[in-house]
């Protein structure tokens, strides 16, 4: 496999990772998933950098990747702490919950879902027939065993 094909393959993988990340970043509402998507974009870029470094035969791409990983680690720590804090305040992970930073006269975005249909009342309730004798618990005996 020659160098150009190698570069090409790596570029495709990196671009796919980046594209998936972008789609996830735009489409998902769960804060943790959004964060993961961002990480995925970073990895895509890292793959691309590494492959270019190999192709050009210098260490710049690798060095930059190590740097990106370091920064991503820090960022992960901070971002997860923030997400955790937000979750503690609201109990949800939905980013649409946090929209109070809009202009004062903007209408809030309210999700109009179809109301769930009320569950059908059960026609007949399952029941167990009581059987046997109620055991008589001797308190003293019981206590002595506990």
């Amino acid at each position: 496999m020659d160098e150009l094909t190698l570069l090409y393959s790596y570029q495709v993988v990196g671009a796919m990772l980046l594209g998936i990340g972008i789609v996830g970043f735009l489409a998902r509402r769960n804060m943790i998933v959004i964060f993961l998507s961002v990480e995925m974009m970073l990895q895509g870029v890292s793959v691309s950098l590494v492959s270019w470094g190999r192709f050009n035969n210098d260490w710049g791409g690798q060095v930059l990747t190590v740097f990106v990983i370091t920064v991503a680690a820090c960022e992960a720590a901070i971002a997860l702490a923030l997400v955790l804090g937000l979750f503690r305040r609201s109990g949800v992970l939905d980013v649409l919950y946090w929209q109070s930073l809009r202009e004062a006269n903007q209408e809030p975005y309210i999700e109009h879902e179809l109301p769930e249909p009320p569950p059908e009342p059960l026609k007949s309730w399952p029941h167990l027939t009581p059987a046997g004798v109620e055991p008589r618990i001797e308190e003293d005996l019981h206590r002595s065993h506990v």
């Binding site: 972008i22 970043f25 735009l26 509402r29 980013v95 649409l96 946090w98 929209q99 109070s100 930073l101 809009r102 202009e103 006269n105 903007q106 809030p108 975005y109």
Partner: protein
Amino acid sequence: MFDVETLMVLIPALPLVATLLTAALGKWLLKEQSHWPAVVAVGASCLLSFVLLFQVRAAVRQLDSSKSAAAASAAKPIGYEKIRTLWTWAVIHDVLPPDAGRPTDARSARDLDLGISLRTDPLTAMMLAVVTSISLLVVIYSIGYMHDDPGYWRFFTYVSLFVFSMTMLVSASNFALLYVFWEAVGLCSYLLIGFWLTRPPAAAAGMKAFLVNRIGDFGFALGLFLLWITYGTLNFHDTPAAAGILGQTLLSDPSRYVGGGVGVAIGLLLMLGACGKSAQFPLHVWLPDAMEGPTPVSALIHAATMVTAGVYMVTRCTPLFMAAPEAQQTVLTIGAITALLAGLIALTQTDLKRVLAYSTISQLGYMFIGLGVGTLPAIVAGMFHLFTHACFKALLFLGAGSVMHAMGGVVDMRRFGGLRHRLPVTHWTFLFGALALAAVAPFAGFWSKDAIVAALSARVSEAGPSSSAFYRIVFWSSLFTGGLTAYYTFRAFFLTFYGPEQIPDEAGHHAHESPRAMTRPLVILAIASLVVGWYFSRGDRFGKFLAHTPSLAYATVQATAQSAEHGGHGQVAFVSTLVALTGIGLAAYLYLGDSWEVVWLTRRLRWLYAISYGKFFLDGLYRVFLIWPLRAFAAGFYWVDRKLIDGLVDRVGRIPLAVGSTMRSLQNGLLPFYAMAMVFGLLVLLGILVR
């Protein structure tokens, strides 16, 4: 230690210290003892003023004897003056460009050099003695009068501040410094008129006094600018840099005083300032309203001292007025009009203090008549009248205060009467003051007013045919005013102390003689009203002393001394006494017995009565012709400011708002939206890069 240089600093400094002490400690520490700093400081100042007076007199006598010994010596100074410059207040270099229009004989000093310069000469020494002694008596009186007032410490702070300002005013040797303290006494007047600041009339009267004085002070300021342009200095005395306006250099060569249009303009502008401060005709309206202040203040500021600042200033500037005879005649005219007008208004006033206020205006008019005549005896007589007037008018006001104190603050003479048994001391002292004001023979007012009228009659006899009629009219009007004075003074006296006893309800259990702190100053002033006129006019002591003031000692004024002396002194004295007695007799006839004639006269002369009672409707005229147009003018400008200028600014302020509102819908707070925008932005950037 008590040389002149020290004294002239100590006299104003002590009341200043008292002011600071009372202001700092009065509210928390001194409280009911707040009068002590003022009493001690003003008392000491008074004592030092008299020491200064005696020292100046000794110096003047020495000057007299040396004059007779070596009359030929040419380098003899004009008059007696001592200058002390404490420090330089401000120096501004090259205020005027070199080619500015300036008489060539003014020295080329173009620096505006303002020093804190104090001076002592006979005029200042005499004013200091008058101011501090009246102040001392009034301060002592106030201990009784202001007792239990919640603003006790405030009152004594203001009064000591006033004494400081007034002593500085009369000892300033610089027009700028004079102007500063001119304003300072105006400020004290304003503060003390509105002393009972919760009473709307008092606040309004303070405002009125301040605003009316603004007009005069504006003229005064313009006069100072003109003086500065003309003479190139504002100092009274000579300095190495420039010859002072009233300094030896100019006085020894009076032809260097600028006459003509500029001289007349200077005189008129200075007179406008004096009109404001001394309540002369067009600007006199503030003084009667100023009676809203505490009565000791009326006695001190609005009768004896501050209102005479204008008289003092015009006397000080005599050389400027001598150089501009038209301005001097204006002074005379204004004085005569004021004296007559105020006398006529005072005839029908029912408020005891207002009668006295109008009589003050009238007497100030007399002083200006003296100054306007412009001969040495007349000017000296004007100052002499200032001096005696300070004594007896302070006495009358303090007596009125004593009546008010007993009557629970009522001043309407229709509501009390026959008080001579209840207030014996006030009655007798008021009688002395009234006799002095009416100019009855041995009392103080007689000597000074007679001197003015005599000087006036001498001027009539020597005036040329063109101006003789003018002086004759002034002479007869001032004689007539003398009769009016006697009449209205005794009308007030009889209404207050004679007739059936009548006490208003407000008096309560108060209707008794005032405490000794109040009656003692009355007695002292009554004795002074009896003796000072006779004592000081004997052998023309006052005149000879005052004639050594540099402004009065130079050749032009001294030349008028001889010519005026042959006036018919005794004749005039006889006529004016006759007029005064007629006035008193008329008042006694109308107000001592059953007063049906008063009612009859009032009905018969209803129009005249209404004009006099309505103060010639001057307040109304000012309201219609000055205040309303000014209000309309101001309302117009208010509209322009509010609607036009503010409206424009408001509209400019809305532009960013309008621009911003178009972008505002983008800020919807939704994170996915922002993310989308970011990605699109990235794509656009990429597109640009790739292309």
